[in-house]
Amino acid sequence: MTPCTRILSWLPAFVGDELDVAAAATVRQHLRDCVDCRRQAASLQQARNALQRLAAAPAPGVDEAWFASLQQDVVAAVARQAERPAPRWWEAMRWPVSVAAAAALFSCGWWLVRDDGPESLLQRPPLVTTVGHAGASLGPAKAVPWSGERLQMQPLGDEGGVESGFGPGMMGRYQLRTLEGREWPAGWPLPEAGLGAGAGAAGETPLAPGRSTHGR
């Protein structure tokens, strides 16, 4: 922050005499040397002076007699207010009851027209699909869960003897490796083996412990 930036941010308070003594002295010192800031301060001061002069400006038609009539009007208005009978209980309850009725009406309407819509993907049964080598014959059908624990993709090429049909590229090296060893979630439909050509050639049981999804 340059000295001018800091001083300019203080000027509105400076012209209103609202800065502490030290800050005001800093501003005053700076204004002695800086023409631009001095001009800014002068314009703020002039505008403020014009505003302050409004305090002494009379309002048209307002004088002591006018205030006397205002006093009478105020007292009369307060008297009318005081004479007004106290609101009956149902009048006092009018607003709360109205709000409660509107809320109840809205709730009923919402219940009638609401659309359940499709359930969340996370609550659906798993999608039955096939996994296996990219480019190789499809492996047995597997159920890939929509939800639940995320499985790590593992590079196949790092394991001895495992090669992808597509070679070492991204498509070939990274596969959804396995679901084996995991509990089949209760209530999920068992996947059908043999989806697609060549699928299920090994006749594997899905999620069988110790079996790969890659037809190894």
Partner: protein, 231 residues
């Protein structure tokens, strides 16, 4: 009890009352009310307490004490005599209605000015949305025809008109803080509770309000601050 006391007061005021204005008291007040209003030893809180206890004059004394300040604050915020009068009157009615809720540990005038300011800002917003731009709607109203202004007075009136025009361009929240600080001379510590904001917010609004006012003022008057600053 309050209702009874105010009814008695109203009757006394409308009938002229036994002690009313022939005595030449300022504002045509009954002597007891004028004495109460002028008594420095009787605080506002004490007047509230007496009103709540059912006495008839203390509320009228509160009106006498505060009606001018209420009117002028409302006038500088709203910009029209009739509307400012309505605001002042409504503020006293609301004050009376909520007198029983007054927190005696707090300043009376802050509480009352807050009522006035809220009503004035509401009135300003309604006025702005309804304003059709006729001559009658100019802020500050027309000049008092009973005066015969000389050239200096004409110049003064012209400048006041320019100030009103600039105030008219300001957002209500800036206008309110400028009116309270620069016209009515209140401190930011007094202004904050009246506007229902923190001290820091009041200071920021004042800071920003002065800059915005200055920008509009320069645009309107073509005056870029050629003179030096005196402080």
């Amino acid at each position: 009890m309050i209702q009874k006391s105010i009814s008695q007061l109203s009757a006394a005021a409308s009938d002229g009352g036994p002690d009313s204005s022939p005595s030449g008291l300022p504002g045509g007040l009954p002597r007891a009310v004028a004495d109460l209003a002028a008594a420095g030893g009787i605080s506002d809180a004490e007047l509230v307490r007496r009103t709540l206890a059912g006495q008839q004059d203390p509320f009228a004394a509160l009106v006498a004490r505060y009606q001018k300040r209420a009117f002028w604050i409302a006038y500088h915020v709203v910009g029209r005599v009739e509307d400012a009068r309505d605001v002042a009157q409504e503020a006293f009615v609301r004050l009376f209605r909520s007198l029983a809720k007054y927190d005696f540990s707090r300043s009376f005038y802050t509480w009352f000015y807050r009522i006035v300011m809220n009503l004035a800002i509401d009135s300003l917003r309604k006025l702005r949305s309804a304003r059709a731009g006729s001559l009658d709607d100019l802020p500050g109203g027309l000049a008092d025809e009973r005066e015969e202004p000389g050239s200096a007075a004409i110049e003064q009136q012209e400048q006041h008109g320019q100030v009103w025009a600039v105030l008219e361009k300001l957002d209500a929240k800036f206008r309110a803080v400028l009116v309270l600080r620069d016209i009515h001379g209140m401190s930011c510590r007094e202004i904050a509770p009246i506007l229902g904001v923190t001290h820091a917010t009041a200071r920021w609004r004042l800071h920003r309000g002065r800059q915005v006012f200055r920008d509009h003022w320069e645009r309107l008057t073509g005056n870029g601050g050629a003179q030096g600053v005196e402080r």
